[in-house]
C-alpha cells in the first residue's frame, strides 16, 4: 500500500477532473473526453506506481512514463502540477501566446520525457527505454498510455512484436479503452477487436481491468511483470468523458469545450462527489 488510501485517490481524481475542466475552459481548448477517461489511470500511476518526482527527475533510474495519447495533455498537466513539478496556476496560460503549456506534451514542461501528440509513437519509445534498462541492468520500469483509436497506427504493432522478442518485461502498455475515437466507435471506424487475443498472439501478457476502479488499477500496475520475460498489456476499460454524465460516451466531447452553462453543470456534478 502506498501513501494514499483508495478513498483518498478517488477524491484526488475528482479534484483532477475539476482542475482539467477549469483549464480547458480557460484555454477554450482541450481533449476533454480522453482526459476524463484517463484520469484514474494517471492518478494511480503518479501517486502509487511510478517512482517519479520533481526531486528524482534527473535520476537515470527513475521510472519512465511516456504518454502516447499526447492529446490528453490536460490530464497530464494537472497531475504533474499536483506532484509538484510546477505550480498549478501556471496552467492558466495553457495554449496561450508564448506559454510552454501547449496542447500536446513537450519537454519544455518539467516532468515530461518526450514530445508526443502524433499518435503511435509512445510504444516504440518505451521499447527503446526498456531495452536500455535491460542493457544497463537498471531497475526502472517503463509505462505508456495508448488510445484505442491510436491502436490502428502500425508502429504499435511493430513495437509490440519487438518488445516481446526482447523479453521486455519491464514495459507496461496501458490501453485507455474508451471505445471511441473522433469519428465514432472504434468498432465502426476500423475494428481493432479482439484486442486481447491480438496482443497475446504478439507475445504479451494481457490483463483487463476497470480503468476507473482505483483498487484494481493499483493491484495490476504495482505487480508487473505478471509473467517473467513478457511485456504487459493492460486493457483498461474506461468511459470517454468519465465523471460528467452528459459527456460520458458522447463522441462530441473528444475535443469539446463546455459552454458556460455546461461548465457549471459539470462542475456541480463533480463537486457533489467531494467529501
Amino acid at each position: 500500500m502506498g501513501k494514499y488510501s483508495n478513498e483518498e485517490l478517488q477524491q484526488k481524481s475528482v479534484k483532477y477532473r475539476l482542475a482539467m475542466l477549469k483549464y480547458i475552459k480557460m484555454a477554450k481548448a482541450g481533449h476533454t473526453g480522453g482526459d476524463l477517461s484517463s484520469t484514474d489511470i494517471l492518478n494511480v500511476l503518479y501517486n502509487d506506481v511510478l517512482n517519479v518526482s520533481p526531486a528524482n527527475f534527473g535520476d537515470p533510474n527513475r521510472d519512465r512514463y511516456i504518454q502516447s495519447k499526447g492529446h490528453a495533455v490536460e490530464a497530464l498537466y494537472v497531475v504533474l502540477a499536483d506532484q509538484g513539478f510546477y505550480p498549478e496556476t501556471d496552467l492558466e496560460t495553457m495554449c496561450k501566446y508564448k506559454s510552454p503549456y501547449v496542447g500536446h506534451p513537450t519537454r519544455k514542461v518539467n516532468g515530461i520525457e518526450f514530445n508526443t501528440g502524433g499518435l503511435g509513437h509512445g510504444l516504440s519509445i518505451c521499447a527503446g527505454l526498456a531495452l536500455a534498462a535491460k542493457k544497463d541492468k537498471a531497475p526502472y520500469r517503463v509505462f505508456t498510455l495508448i488510445g484505442d483509436g491510436e491502436l490502428a497506427e502500425g508502429s504499435n504493432w511493430e513495437a509490440g512484436m519487438m518488445a516481446s522478442h526482447y523479453e521486455l518485461d519491464n514495459l507496461v502498455a496501458v490501453l485507455d479503452h474508451n471505445t471511441l475515437q473522433i469519428t465514432g466507435k472504434n468498432a465502426d471506424v476500423c475494428n481493432p477487436h479482439p484486442i486481447d487475443e491480438k496482443w497475446k498472439a504478439f507475445g504479451w501478457q494481457v490483463v483487463t481491468v476497470n480503468g476507473h476502479n482505483i483498487a484494481e488499477l493499483r493491484e495490476i500496475l504495482n505487480n508487473t511483470p505478471i509473467e517473467k520475460g513478457k511485456p504487459t498489456f493492460v486493457i483498461a476499460n474506461t468511459i470517454k468523458g468519465k465523471g460528467v454524465s452528459f459527456m460520458e460516451g458522447e463522441k462530441k466531447w473528444h475535443h469539446g469545450v463546455p459552454t458556460d452553462e455546461e461548465y457549471e453543470t459539470a462542475i456541480k456534478e463533480l463537486e457533489s462527489e467531494l467529501i
Binding site: A27, A29, G70, C95, K96, Y97, K98, S99, P100, V102, G103, H104, T106, K108, N115, T116, G117, G118, L119, G120, G149, E150, A152, E153, G154, Q181, I182, T183, V189, C190, P192
Partner: protein, 330 residues
C-alpha cells in the same frame, strides 16, 4: 483585385475543398475520399452522408492511408486522401514517395489544417516541413491555394489530372482575392496586385496579410506587387525573374519553415538567372516555434500587415544604401 479594394471574407479553404468535392461527386461516382479518422476535421461528414460508398475510412493509420489510396488510384479511381498536413505529408512520406509519386498514380493528397492552423496544439501538429519534403520528390505537384477560388480551381484541376498532387489548406476563413471568372492554371502564378517597388511572392494563407501590407505601403507611396505563387511545384520561374528584375526588393512569404520552402525555391531561380535583388524569406525561422494561435504565431514572425510592410521598407532602404540610388520614402 485593386489596391483600394476592401477585402471580403469568404469561407475556409477547407470548406471550399469539401464543397467542391461534393460538386464533383455529384456526377462522378469515381471520386473517392480516403480518411484516417479525419472526416470531421476535414469537414467531410456531409460528403460521407451523401456518398457513403465513396468514402473509405482506414482508422488512425496514415501510412496505410496513403498506400491504400495508391492502390485505389491505380484502378482509375479519383482519390482525395484527406488528413492533417502534419501527418499526411511526412508520417506517410515513404508511401507518398514510392507508392504515389514514383509509381505515378494520381492520388490527391489533401493536407488539411496545414501550416500553423493548429497553432496552440503545438509543433507536433504544425506542418512547416511538408513542402520541403515533397519538393524533393520527383513527380509531385504541390499547390498551396490562397483563397476559396484558388482552392476550388486546384481541386478541380487535380480531379482530372493524371498526376499526383499535394494540396495544402488551412481552416481559417479567407478573404476573396480573385473574381470568380479569373483564369487559374496549375504552374502559373496569379498576380493579385501590380507594383514595382517591392515584390511579395506569397502562398496560401499568407497571401492575405501580404495584400494588407501592400495596402499599408500604398498609403506611404510605395507600390507593392503581390503574387500568389499557389503552385510551388512546378514553379513559375518567369514570374519570379520578372519580379526580381522589375522590383527594388523581393520578399517571399509562406506558412512554412524558411528552410526548403517557397523562399528558397525563389532564391534558386533568381541566382541561377544571374540576378541579384535585396531579398528576404518570411516564414517560420529554424527555432522552436512560439506557442499561440495561428495569427499570433504568424504575427510573431512578422507575417502580418505591419510586419511585412516594415520588412519591405527595410529592404528598400538597404537597396538605397547599396546603390546610393536616390530613393526617398515619403
Amino acid at each position: 483585385m485593386n489596391i483600394k479594394d476592401i477585402l471580403i471574407t469568404g469561407k475556409a479553404n477547407l470548406q471550399a475543398y469539401c464543397d467542391t468535392l461534393l460538386e464533383l461527386a455529384a456526377d462522378d461516382p469515381n471520386i473517392i475520399a480516403v480518411t484516417s479518422d479525419s472526416r470531421e476535421s476535414g469537414k467531410l461528414t456531409p460528403f460521407a452522408d451523401k456518398y457513403p460508398n465513396q468514402i473509405v475510412e482506414v482508422g488512425i493509420a496514415e501510412q496505410n492511408l496513403v498506400g491504400v489510396s495508391a492502390g485505389l488510384a491505380s484502378t482509375g479511381k479519383k482519390v482525395f486522401t484527406t488528413s492533417p498536413g502534419c501527418f499526411l505529408a511526412t508520417r506517410s512520406l515513404e508511401q507518398v514517395k514510392n507508392d504515389v509519386a514514383y509509381s505515378d498514380y494520381p492520388v490527391n493528397l489533401i493536407g488539411i489544417s496545414a501550416g500553423v492552423s493548429y497553432g496552440a496544439l503545438g509543433s507536433t501538429h504544425h506542418s512547416l516541413h511538408d513542402v520541403a519534403a515533397l519538393r524533393a520528390i520527383n513527380n509531385m505537384t504541390i499547390v498551396v491555394p490562397a483563397d476559396n477560388f484558388e482552392t476550388k480551381e486546384a481541386i478541380k484541376a487535380a480531379a482530372v489530372s493524371p498526376k499526383p498532387f499535394y494540396i495544402k489548406i488551412g481552416k481559417k476563413n479567407m478573404p476573396h482575392l480573385h473574381a470568380e471568372n479569373e483564369t487559374f492554371i496549375i504552374g502559373k502564378a496569379s498576380t493579385i496586385l501590380e507594383g514595382a517597388d517591392v515584390a511579395f511572392i506569397a502562398c496560401g494563407e499568407t497571401v492575405y496579410p501580404t495584400v494588407e501590407a501592400a495596402q499599408l505601403l500604398n498609403k506611404e507611396g510605395i507600390s507593392a506587387r503581390v503574387i500568389s505563387m499557389h503552385t510551388i511545384k512546378p514553379l513559375d520561374a518567369d514570374v519570379i525573374i520578372k519580379a526580381a528584375k522589375e522590383c527594388k526588393a523581393f520578399i517571399s512569404v509562406e506558412e512554412h519553415s524558411i528552410n526548403g520552402g517557397l523562399g528558397e525555391a525563389c532564391a534558386s531561380v533568381i541566382l541561377e538567372a544571374g540576378l541579384s535583388v535585396p531579398f528576404k524569406r518570411m516564414g517560420i525561422p529554424d527555432e522552436e516555434t512560439v506557442a499561440g494561435s495561428q495569427t499570433e504565431i504568424l504575427e510573431h514572425y512578422g507575417i502580418s500587415a505591419s510586419g511585412l510592410s516594415d520588412e519591405a521598407k527595410r529592404l528598400i532602404k538597404q537597396l538605397k544604401h547599396l546603390t546610393n540610388e536616390k530613393y526617398e520614402l515619403k
